[in-house]
């Protein structure tokens, strides 16, 4: 285990100081040494580069704090069941998304700017290397914070997609009544119910069961005189057919959605790779151009040599 001897060091400093005083040795600032120290420490000229780098970092830090603060509310899908404080409307979420994106763009621009300026006045190889590494760290930090943002955005998108899927499911049992009655209101309330309750497959059936008595009452209420048993049967058959069609359509749509999501993910990966390769291809291009020129010159030199 490591042993902290900092205190020992400070004690040594005191010892040396007193010893030097006793010997009358002028050490650096001599007696004023301690005062100089105090003065020297604070207004130490902070390099331009590092102060700006730290500024960028603090900006990114603010973005990160902002995202983390609102994260819970952002992700919360059931905000309309909670109190006023917790609620976040979609417009607010969009606002957050936009702000975050603008922020990220400005940060990465600032980093780019720093990169170009960093190498201007400095001649030392080590300092250049150091600054490049520092900028890499800052970029990495920005990426990590952006990941926070993209994660929660992905969750939000997924929730929206799921919600839409469910809201398509719910009104089906009520289409029966729609034929006979204008039951938009009816379809509204079960769909609202579905939004409130966690989405599971069993729910639709429960709602179906719940609406059955409703149907019954509705049907009764409207009066049996209007619909003869044959018509009811015909309508039921048509309903069944429509349900079948809707189901198959819905399945296909779901498949396509899944595939589209995967394709978009793949495209993201490909774009990343292509961008990476861009830099490499550029350098290869340079090399090839250089090589061609070298070969040309070589050929010319050979031609100049008198044939033996």
């Amino acid at each position: 285990m490591a042993v902290d001897i900092t205190l020992l060091f400070r004690a040594s400093v005191k010892t040396v100081k007193t010893r030097n005083k006793a010997l009358g040795v002028a050490v650096g600032g001599g007696v004023d040494g301690s005062r100089d120290e105090l003065f020297r420490r604070s207004p130490r000229p902070k390099g331009d580069f590092s102060s700006r780098a730290r500024e960028v970092i603090s900006h990114i830090g603010k973005l990160r704090d902002f995202l983390l603060e609102h994260r819970k509310d952002y992700i919360n899908a059931y905000s309309h069941t909670m109190s006023e404080y917790g609620r976040m409307t979609d417009t607010e979420r969009d606002q957050i998304d936009q702000d975050a994106q603008i922020f990220m763009r400005t940060c990465s621009e600032a980093i780019q700017q720093l990169r170009t300026e960093a190498h201007k006045e400095i001649h030392s190889q080590q300092v250049k290397e150091h600054r490049t590494a520092v900028l890499d760290f800052i970029e990495d930090y920005l990426k990590r914070v952006c990941k926070l943002y993209s994660e929660q955005r992905a969750i939000r998108v997924k929730r929206v997609v799921d919600k839409k899927r469910l809201s398509k499911l719910e009104p089906e049992p009520n289409t029966k009544t729609r034929e006979s009655t204008s039951s938009e209101k009816v379809s509204q309330s079960p769909s609202k119910d579905s939004e409130e309750n966690p989405a599971t497959e069993e729910r639709p059936e429960k709602i179906l069961a719940e609406t059955q008595p409703e149907l019954g009452t509705w049907g009764d209420g409207k009066g049996e005189d209007e619909l003869s048993p044959e018509e009811i049967q015909m309508f039921e058959q048509e309903n069944q057919r429509l349900i079948g069609e809707m189901n198959s359509l819905f399945d296909e749509v779901r498949q396509i959605e899944g595939r589209v999501v995967e394709i978009s993910r793949l495209q993201e990966i490909f774009t990343e790779k292509v961008l990476q390769q861009e830099a490499e291809i550029d350098s290869i291009h340079q090399l090839v151009v250089g090589a061609t020129e070298n070969i040309k010159e070589g050929n010319e030199d050979i031609r100049e040599v008198p044939h033996l």
């Binding site: 285990m1 001897i5 900092t6 040396v16 120290e37 020297r40 902070k46 080590q126 290397e129 760290f137």
Partner: protein, 641 residues
């Protein structure tokens, strides 16, 4: 209880982890390092001397240093430019020159703040030197922290460590055994060794029970180490072995056993030709600190006359714990390694083909309605294939690496007929009858002088009776004809005369040559490793002398060889070095340390020995690591005097 038991079982023994953790903490400004995915970046500069470099390089790669926030890593004694606003972490030995250079840095105001870490403890007077320089430069507040790290040893494997690389000559076999060594010089050597061993135990967090043989350099080390540990334990205020450094209740039930042996008990093993992968790489190629350097000749075509000579490409590879193939096969016999590389290559090609096939399937898109339903599966497959690409690339890199390394080793084996020597030496060491006389082999025009010398020395060391004068003259003549230098023989003669070990190394077991079946399979698969003419030898488990000694001591077996070993327990109040151990139970943990140098053959032997025993751990350490070539050189220098 379960957690404590798990901790005891799991990795009390991994010295590599402990040292890495200590280094990471040091790099994190001496504060324990916690991974935080949204933490702000902090950057720093790392300054080290050659000792520090040797310690850090097997443990942390450049990428890992970057992850810890290090932008630049520089040697202490190099030209360094001032980089303002950057904290600097120093990791150096507290020597005069280093201290001077650090004081110079302080005067030149190179960095913003300084975190000084000394590899082994710094003396008070040197600390005052730094204080003086800091005062002169008005930089005292800039020196943020000063630490004694106690990390003065190099860990190469989870269970293997070496004392040093930079100043090997100081503690080499030759340095310890030369006849003209003075007392003061011996003291210095012993102090260096003890300092490193002490650092090792501080990092391990345990106080061992020490056993050593009498009358050897190992005994001197044991006495000094015991004294140092004892002093430290008595000093209650500054003890390094107090409860909080021990951590997680490891060793609270059992203390480890430290067996200190001297190289002189077994000189045959360092000269032995070997057959396991790691030992072969060390013997035959340029392998230090887990890095192997290969020279490859570029191209096989004859260059036209007058053109520049072909340049040889130099390649170096790091053999790290992340390399799964290496971890699995570093102790395997070489033919097995060759086969496994083939297998890995095949499985890699299969995966590659799979990925390529998906590419062609994707071409169907838009053409065939029916294919679209097939696609839903393939989209998922494609995604998984793409995300597994980095893994595949890494696998390819490892396969390339091991193909190159193994090919290089194989070339050496074929050129020098190492398999023949190996088999013969095994026979000599196990005292089975030899089918070819030694003289014949030496007189054989094939084979390098060095290999023949090794063979002869092993013979000379292992025989019960020294060969007669006439025979010896014959051998000597044959050896000189073959081009060998006879100096090592001089030394070995002297050694044999001095050594008190009347008993020769006990049975080594026998080596068998496996039937050709395995070999022909390797050839038939069109392997690159055409091992024709190379015997497919299989090692049978045998215990080298060091392993035997460890076995006796660890299992508390009674054996004339080890019964009169000295016994030290630094924790006991009275300095008691009776030969009667107080502890009657077998040990669960042991550390074997060879004073005078060790090698991978011994290490592998210990690893194999302990594999059979459940729940026991061994660590192997030596004052320096040499291969046979280097050892022969030392012997020859000793023989010259």
């Amino acid at each position: 209880m379960a957690a404590a038991a798990a901790a005891t079982a799991a990795a009390a023994a991994s010295i590599r982890e402990r040292q890495t953790v200590a280094l990471k903490r040091m790099l994190n400004f001496n504060v324990p390092h916690i991974k935080n995915s949204t933490g702000e970046p902090v950057w720093k500069v790392l300054i080290y001397d050659r000792f520090g470099q040797d310690i850090i390089s097997p443990l942390l790669s450049v990428k890992e240093l970057r992850d810890m926030g290090i932008t630049l890593h520089l040697l202490l004694h190099s030209d360094r430019d001032p980089i303002p606003d950057v904290p600097a972490v120093y990791f150096v030995m507290p020597t005069e020159e280093n201290i001077d250079r650090m004081c110079q840095d302080l005067r030149n105001q190179l960095y913003e703040s300084y975190y000084l870490n000394f590899i082994s403890a710094i003396s008070r007077s040197k600390l005052e030197d730094i204080a003086n320089a800091a005062l002169a430069a008005s930089a005292v507040t800039q020196v943020a922290k000063v630490f004694d790290q106690y990390l003065n040893f190099i860990t190469l494997e989870d269970d293997m460590f070496v004392l040093c690389n930079q100043n090997k000559e100081l503690v080499s076999y030759r340095a310890i055994n030369r006849p003209d060594i003075t007392d003061t010089e011996m003291e210095t050597v012993m102090d260096t060794i003890v300092d490193s061993l002490f650092c090792f135990f501080v990092t391990l967090g345990a106080v061992p029970i020490i056993r050593c043989s009498r009358g050897t350099a190992a005994e001197m080390v044991a006495v000094k180490l015991d004294k140092k540990l004892r002093e430290n334990l008595r000093d209650a205020r500054n003890s390094l072995f107090t409860g909080d450094t021990l951590g997680a209740g490891q060793f609270s039930f059992q203390r480890p056993l430290l067996v200190l042996v001297d190289r002189n008990i077994d000189l045959a093993t360092p000269l032995h030709h070997t057959w396991t992968y790691q030992a072969l790489v060390h013997d035959v190629l340029d392998f230090h600190l887990n890095r192997v350097n290969l020279e490859e000749s570029s191209g096989v075509e004859n260059s036209p006359a007058g053109a520049r000579p072909k340049r040889k490409n130099k390649k170096s590879y790091d053999l790290t714990p992340v390399d799964k193939f290496w971890q699995k096969h570093k102790g395997s016999p070489f033919p097995e390694v060759a086969e496994s590389v083939q297998q890995e290559l095949e499985s890699y090609r299969a995966q590659e083909d799979e990925v390529k096939r998906l590419k062609s399937i994707m071409g169907l898109e838009g053409e065939d309605e029916g294919a679209i339903s097939m696609l839903s599966d393939n989209t998922a497959k494609l995604t998984s294939a793409v995300s597994s690409l980095p893994e595949l690339l890494e696998k390819k890199r490892l396969i390339d690496l091991h193909t190159n390394v193994a090919t290089a080793v194989l070339e050496h084996i074929k050129a020098r007929k190492l398999d023949v020597y190996f088999e013969y030496e095994e026979k000599i060491m196990s005292k089975t009858t030899l089918d070819k006389s030694l003289l014949d082999i030496i007189s054989d025009p094939d084979g390098t002088p060095e290999d023949k010398m090794r063979l002869f020395l092993i013979y000379y060391i292992s025989t019960q009776q020294a060969p007669s004068e006439a025979d010896l003259e014959q051998y000597k003549k044959a050896l000189t004809d073959a081009g060998c230098n006879l100096n090592p023989l001089q030394y070995i003669k002297q050694w044999k005369a001095f050594t008190k070990m009347a008993s020769a190394p006990a049975s080594y077991g026998s080596t068998t040559t496996k039937p050709m079946g395995l070999l022909s399979r390797v050839m038939n698969t069109g392997s690159q490793f055409v091992m024709e003419g190379v015997k497919n030898l299989v090692l049978k488990q045998q215990n080298l002398p060091v392993t035997r000694i460890l076995d006796n001591l660890m299992e508390m077996k009674s054996n004339p060889e080890t019964d009169d070993y000295r016994y030290f327990d630094p924790k006991m109040l009275r300095g008691n070095d009776s030969s009667v151990p107080r502890n009657k139970n077998p040990f669960q943990e042991a550390i074997v340390f060879v004073v005078g140098g060790g090698n991978y053959i011994e290490y592998q032997n210990l690893v194999d020995y302990i594999k059979g025993k459940q729940g026991k751990h061994i660590l192997y350490g030596c004052s320096e690591l040499f291969n046979a070539t280097q050892f022969i050189k030392q012997l020859s220098q000793l023989g010259q005097k």
